[in-house]
């Protein structure tokens, strides 16, 4: 196993259960983008080919994603595009991103009619787009479902996505280990948009991880809404509310820009902060190590590059290198690695703006 399993192995086994047939490190083996094998000197996503990088059968991949109105989604598009360009045997048909369900369905139907070989879909709304996923599968076009999951496994051939619960776990364990031995440690949480299921999952993972550390108490939680503005506003309030605490977990590096701003404005530096998602600005701050931000847990947009790899493998009817199976897995949950000063360099190129 590569190095990132720095937490007790029972969590790894839980992940194994989550993944079903896929091995914990399937994503890592496949693309390298989320693993951080220490021997691997190359920056992650852009250069490492998947299963087998010899040119093969020509594959046309249709890609449909939501409107890139957030840094992370923008990075998803970039990763997909750059990855496709690496392969001489891949043609990428990419649609204009849309948050409108009806419009996205129309775009995907167009791709089906064009008879692309494989579809990669990051739905604006997973539930609402299940039908069109089924439609594609019935038409014989394998679907790689990216991140936001369809209602039924029948609607995709392979799902690849991040692990929100795992983000919380990783953040909780990282903070737990850092505060080990400190009695009556106080932790606060700056959550993302509370309307979203994923925010609940992240908080749940965080809380579950903290249960392993009886010396730590979560004393406050406020929800921002993934924007810089809300991050600043909510963090400012949290800082006023909690005159003393030891660690902060912020769900999202975008709103973290605002949170850091509030911390700077309040002149506070008496705690450590862990971010989430993996923005470039966060990586840079971690590397400089002159502020409170000490680490961030990944929700890697490189998953889009991996999705292209999977789609190509599907189109060429190949398996995944490094795995015993002839077929690629049905489901791949990426690992939320912790990036801190130790390993930030190798992630730098995956950071999004």
């Amino acid at each position: 196993m590569p190095e990132p399993m720095r937490f007790p192995s029972r969590f790894a086994s839980r992940r194994g259960l989550l993944l079903g047939t896929a091995a914990v490190s399937a994503g890592a083996l496949l693309t390298g983008c989320t693993s951080n094998g220490p021997k691997d000197e190359e920056p992650a996503a852009d250069t490492r080919p998947a299963a087998d990088d010899k040119p093969g059968k020509q594959v046309t991949i249709g890609f449909a994603g939501p409107q890139a109105d957030h840094g992370w989604l923008n990075a998803i598009n970039d990763n997909a595009k750059n990855r496709a360009e690496k392969y001489s045997d891949v043609t990428l048909e990419i649609t204009e991103g849309s948050n409108d369900t009806a419009q996205q369905i129309g775009q995907i139907e167009t791709l089906i009619n064009k008879k692309v070989d494989v579809l990669v879909v990051l739905p604006a709304d997973g539930k609402a787009l299940t039908q069109v996923g089924l439609q594609a599968m019935r038409a014989g076009i394998p679907v790689v479902n990216l991140d936001r999951i369809f209602n039924t496994p029948q609607a995709y051939r392979c799902w690849i996505g991040g692990d929100n619960y795992g983000m919380g776990l990783s953040a909780g364990h990282y903070i737990g280990e850092k505060l080990k031995g400190k009695s009556d440690a106080r932790v606060i949480e700056l959550a993302g948009l509370d309307n979203l299921e994923l925010t609940k999952q992240r908080t749940q993972g965080f809380d579950d991880a903290l249960k392993n550390y009886p010396n730590i108490k979560k004393v406050a939680r406020q929800a921002a809404d993934f924007t810089v503005e809300s991050g600043q506003a909510k963090m400012a309030q949290l800082l006023q509310a909690q005159s003393k605490f030891d660690a902060l977990w912020n769900h999202d590096d975008d709103q973290g820009v605002g949170a850091l701003r509030a911390i700077e404005q309040a002149g506070r530096d008496d705690f450590m902060m862990v971010g989430g998602a993996g923005a470039l600005s966060a990586f840079q701050a971690i590397k400089q190590d002159n502020g409170v931000l000490k680490a961030t847990v990944l929700y890697p947009p490189t998953m889009a590059a991996s999705a292209i790899d999977l789609a190509r493998a599907l189109g060429q009817s190949k398996g995944v290198g490094g795995l015993a199976e002839y077929e690629i897995p049905a489901s791949i949950t990426l690992y939320s690695a912790v990036v801190d000063k130790e390993n930030v360099d190798q992630y730098m190129s995956t950071g999004f703006r």
Partner: protein
């Protein structure tokens, strides 16, 4: 020939008035509406003081509440003018977003402080000009024209940023948001908010512009027949709202140290709500800057108290809705009994 009957100025002073102490007018004018808002604010302060005495009753917290209210406060001053004139501006949040991202592109940032300030204000004025022209001279309903501006400005903001967060590097901008720049404990953002409020109050209550705004909102047809250029007045009003959005965008850049296309999210609703609970008539013809600012402070204080008590955003939203309903009901009650 008939002379205008306005007597020479000197003689007006001799007109005997029902002489009342000077403060009487103030109290009468600071009507029950305003007093009831002050009452709500006082009640909130008591609640905050009881639940979190150390954190709430603290200079830093006062600075925090006022700072956090500054951005939306400046927007609300502009909105108050527009609503007083019988209009509505749904595009304020989008204009703030567009101005803040335009002013923080790498190209703009090269011009430093001045470039960022200039661009914010100019973009705000530009959007206001478009709104004003569409409404005053294009005959469009304000609701629709500003809704269209909302959509386009947000779209343009997204196009400029590509969904990315534009971080501000100018130290002179960033410094303004930090404690070192407080003057006698007053944050620069709060000073701007205060200045905008005072100017807004003076313009609405002491100038021909304000008087015409009220006239247009109270009875546009009567204003027209009285010889007021109603269309030009409307144009100016949306320009003013745009200007306030530009200033607010600049404050937001200082506050958050960045520009993002998601900035100013739902400002239109917050500003309208603050103006309405402040006592400005949604149908136009009456507006109060003091009330609007109190409305903003009430909302900001609620958010503050809830955050200090670690209550979650769902509870905050419910409370906000309840406050709007309660404030309007109380006002209706007091308005009908006076």
């Amino acid at each position: 020939m008939t002379q205008p009957v306005s007597p020479p100025r000197g003689s007006t002073d001799k007109v005997p008035q029902a002489q009342l102490p000077a403060w009487h007018g103030l109290v009468a004018r600071a009507d029950i509406r305003t007093l009831s808002l002050l009452g709500v604010l006082a009640a909130l302060v008591v609640i905050g003081g009881i639940t979190k005495p150390d954190e709430f009753l603290d200079t830093r917290n006062l600075q925090l509440v006022l700072t956090q209210g500054s951005v939306i406060g400046v927007v609300t001053v502009g909105m108050t003018f527009v609503i007083t004139s019988g209009g509505i501006d749904l595009s304020v949040g989008a204009i703030v977003a567009l101005a803040s991202v335009w002013a923080t592109t790498l190209a703009t940032q090269e011009y430093g402080f001045g470039g960022i300030l200039f661009t914010s204000v100019l973009v705000g004025l530009g959007c206001g000009l478009v709104n004003g022209l569409l409404i005053a001279y294009g005959g469009m309903v304000p609701f629709i024209a500003t809704l269209a501006m909302l959509a386009s400005a947000r779209g343009l903001a997204l196009q400029i940023t590509d969904g990315k967060t534009q971080i501000v590097t100018s130290e002179s901008i960033l410094d303004l948001g930090e404690r070192d720049s407080y003057v006698l404990g007053v944050p620069p953002l709060v000073m701007v908010f205060a200045v905008v409020t005072i100017i807004g109050w003076l313009v609405l209550n002491r100038t021909t512009f304000g008087r015409r705004t009220v006239a247009v909102g109270g009875n546009a047809e009567a204003a027209r027949l009285a010889g007021i250029d109603v269309r030009r007045q409307r144009l100016y009003l949306y320009l003013l709202s745009g200007l306030c959005c530009g200033i607010a965008a600049f404050l937001l850049i200082i506050l958050s140290g960045s520009g993002q296309n998601t900035n100013g999210n739902l400002y239109e609703l917050d500003a309208i709500a603050a103006a309405i609970i402040g006592g400005t008539l949604l149908s136009g013809g009456r507006g109060t800057i003091v009330g609007s600012v109190l409305g903003v402070l009430i909302f900001t204080t609620i958010t503050n108290i809830f955050a200090l008590n670690n209550l979650q955003s769902d509870v905050q939203q419910i409370a906000k809705g309840a406050i709007i309903v309660a404030a309007v009901l109380v006002q209706r009650r007091t308005a009908s009994t006076t």
